[in-house]
């Protein structure tokens, strides 16, 4: 059993009466790589800022080792942060940036002659120098001590930011989209580098990203968030294989999501046809969302298939083809290594473990239809997603009133 370090209990946060975090309950274990994953504006940064002490939750508690920390300012918390755009000090060189926290020294409560006193603990110059150089070596920036911050590339600035935080030996490191500003190649390199540093230092990383691939690749635990609410907590495998609702299924990887009816345990109906599946515990005849991952679908000759459809578009993706197939007006994405030309009628077979059943949720019907599939679909960036959310917001409120 790993030890629990931080816990958020019923944490809510509102800005100007607008609820940004809705009753979060979450704990963070020792030496864990935990990722907060969600679209832009879902409250990830806000969660980190609550843990870092930059804002106080509107309601709820922040516990460190079981002690309430709500009103403890950032400089007295044993966590350090790598900020979204690094926030390095431009007037200091690399060495001084990393040494910054060590030079401040911490005030600690100590017993002096039986009385509790606040004592300023100063770290000797030699030790500062040694620790900074050690840390620069960990982030592969040896020899860069005297460089100015403005002379560094994005990736190097990123490393300085990590070194500056880690040199203070925090129990928990908070990272807010640390790789967001880097190009793809560098991002992949830094992912494994970060994972290595986390394992080498043996501390907890709380990592924020909106990139699902990054989350799957690095995390021990993923917390999927949307609209200030936790949608699902689990290992990368859990989240991918057993998404809890249509939002998670769509956000993590590609998914075909269709309406189904659960007849009894292990039997689901969709497209007027019954399929065997591995899920149970639903009410009889409960309407459900059915998730089928594009890479799980087997294409067979037309006459052997459980379902028949026509190929409407094919895109070569390197390892596989993204094939869009029309089944009675509903379009599925199928990823296959075999080429099937547009217009071909194919059959498919679904094995019981290819089918995943989810309860209906507020997200049902919003995702998982590839009827409007295009290249741009994947490229859709955060800005548009944020816009959509904002447009949706007031309409939902209207329903509730």
């Amino acid at each position: 059993m790993s030890k629990e370090l931080i816990r958020l209990v019923n944490c809510s946060m509102a800005f100007d009466g607008e609820l940004v975090l809705d009753n979060m309950n979450l704990y963070f274990n020792d030496s864990e790589f935990l990722t907060l994953l969600g679209p832009s504006g879902c409250g990830k940064t806000t969660t980190l800022r609550i843990i870092g002490g930059f804002i106080t939750p509107t309601s709820g508690e922040v516990l460190f080792d079981g002690v309430r920390m709500n009103d403890i300012p950032p400089h007295l918390r044993q966590v350090n942060t790598v900020f979204q755009r690094y926030a390095l000090f431009p007037h200091l060189n690399v060495f001084e940036n990393v040494a910054f926290g060590l030079r401040i020294g911490r005030t600690e409560e100590k017993e002096v002659n039986g009385k509790k006193k606040k004592v300023k603990v100063r770290i000797p110059q030699d030790e500062i120098r040694q620790r900074v150089l050690e840390m620069l070596e960990v982030v592969s920036l040896k020899g860069f001590e005297n460089r100015r911050i403005t002379e560094l590339s994005g990736g190097q600035q990123q490393r300085v930011a990590i070194a500056r935080a880690l040199v203070n030996r925090p129990k928990v490191l908070l990272l807010d989209e640390p790789l967001g500003a880097l190009d793809l190649r560098l991002r992949k390199d830094m992912q494994s580098e970060l994972k290595r540093i986390q394992q080498q230092m043996g501390i907890t990383f709380i990592y924020v990203t909106h990139d699902q691939e990054e989350a799957l690749a690095m995390s021990d635990t993923i917390v999927v968030m949307d609209q200030g609410k936790i949608q699902q907590i689990g290992t990368p495998e859990d989240i991918y294989n057993e998404p809890k609702n249509a939002f998670v299924a769509d956000f993590i990887g590609e998914s075909n999501i269709l309406d189904g009816i659960m007849h009894e345990d292990y039997v689901v109906e969709f497209f007027n046809r019954k399929f065997k599946c591995l899920d149970k515990g639903f009410a009889p005849m409960e309407p459900v969302d059915v998730v089928i991952r594009p890479e799980d679908i087997d294409i067979v000759p037309m006459e052997k298939g459980q379902l028949r459809g026509t190929v409407t578009s094919v895109t070569f993706k390197g390892v596989h083809y993204d094939t869009i197939v029309d089944f009675k007006g509903f379009k599925w994405l199928i990823q296959t290594t075999d080429y099937h030309p547009v217009g071909e009628t194919i059959g498919i077979i679904l094995n019981p473990d290819d089918i995943h059943i989810m309860h209906k949720s507020q997200y049902s019907g919003m995702f998982g239809d590839y009827s409007s599939y295009s290249e741009e679909y994947e490229e859709m960036d955060d800005v548009t997603m944020l816009d959509e959310e904002e447009e949706d917001g007031p309409r939902e409120d209207g329903h509730e009133e």
Partner: protein, 292 residues
């Protein structure tokens, strides 16, 4: 053809404008070195009037007053203006912007209005104070408060501080807004209290703005006549006021000399401010392009 004539006439008007702008000052400077008493007839080069200047007790006294009030007002308004800017900066936009407009009104206000209103304000306050001090003195015998206060160095200083602060705010504000908001968070994250973060991170970042603000404030103070005239009272004189009172009597070429010195002081200060600004712009530009 047309174009060239156009350019020529433009140049002619420009020359005319510069002539109007600088001819009087040029004349002033030239005649400050005149050996004779006249401001019309040149009688040869001499530093006589400058020498007399330094022997004139009243003028030296007013130079001292000017320097003292300018220095004190600069220091105080720079500190107050810097912290006020930080206050503005941490406000929400919706509150900050109307306040910034209110902040810049005094700068555009006619000096005479500022001067008269400050004068009226001080006099009104002194009346109230007289009543209050009289009442305090009547109910106890331990301390005796002065009942009559007058315009003087103190009010002059207060007036200068008040008209300088907006300039400091205007020059520090942009530097704060250029600063990455997360820098303060980062400093606190690394163990700084807010005050430590201020000294170690905010101050180095906005220092150029503070220095520019202080230089502008000092220039404004040295330069000011109208507001000083209304708030300094009868016993205190700044250099500008001294020059004015000298012009009312017999016009002496000493005025040319002292005006020349004042002109050069202000000119030098303005040149420094401008050079600093263009340097900073260039530095900001290389910083931006350097990042990419």
């Amino acid at each position: 053809m047309m174009k060239r004539r156009h350019a020529a006439s433009n140049r002619f008007f420009m020359a005319l404008v510069f002539l109007f702008l600088y001819a009087p000052i040029f004349l002033l400077i030239v005649f400050s070195f005149n050996a004779g008493e006249s401001s019309v007839v040149w009688k040869g080069f001499s530093l006589k009037w400058y020498g007399e200047l330094f022997r004139d007790r009243l003028i030296m006294q007013s130079v001292y007053t000017t320097l003292l009030v300018s220095l004190l007002a600069t220091i105080i308004s720079t500190i107050a203006g810097t912290f006020a800017s930080i206050g503005f900066y941490s406000m929400r936009r919706r509150v900050r912007e109307p306040l910034m407009t209110i902040n810049s009104i005094p700068m555009m206000n006619a000096d005479i209005v500022t001067g008269v209103s400050l004068c009226l304000f001080f006099v009104a306050f002194f009346n109230l104070w007289g009543d209050f001090a009289g009442w305090i003195n009547s109910i106890q015998g331990l301390i005796t408060l002065p009942t009559r206060l007058n315009l003087g160095f103190g009010t002059l200083l207060l007036a200068h501080i008040s008209f300088n602060i907006p300039y400091v705010i205007l020059s520090v504000g942009p530097k704060l807004r250029q600063m990455d908001r997360n820098l303060v968070d980062a400093a606190q994250d690394l163990g700084c209290t807010w005050m430590q973060a201020f000294w170690k991170v905010i101050l180095p970042e906005i220092k150029p703005g503070i220095v520019s603000g202080a230089l502008i404030a000092f220039t404004m103070s040295v330069d000011d006549f109208v507001i000083s005239y209304f708030t300094a009272g009868s016993a205190t004189s700044t250099l500008a006021m001294q020059i004015y009172s000298m012009t009312k009597k017999r016009i002496s070429p000493k005025i040319n000399a002292i005006s020349t010195l004042l002109f050069i002081t202000v000119l030098v200060l303005l040149v420094i401010v401008n050079i600093r600004e263009s340097h900073q712009e260039r530095a900001a530009l290389t910083r931006q392009t350097g990042k990419k």
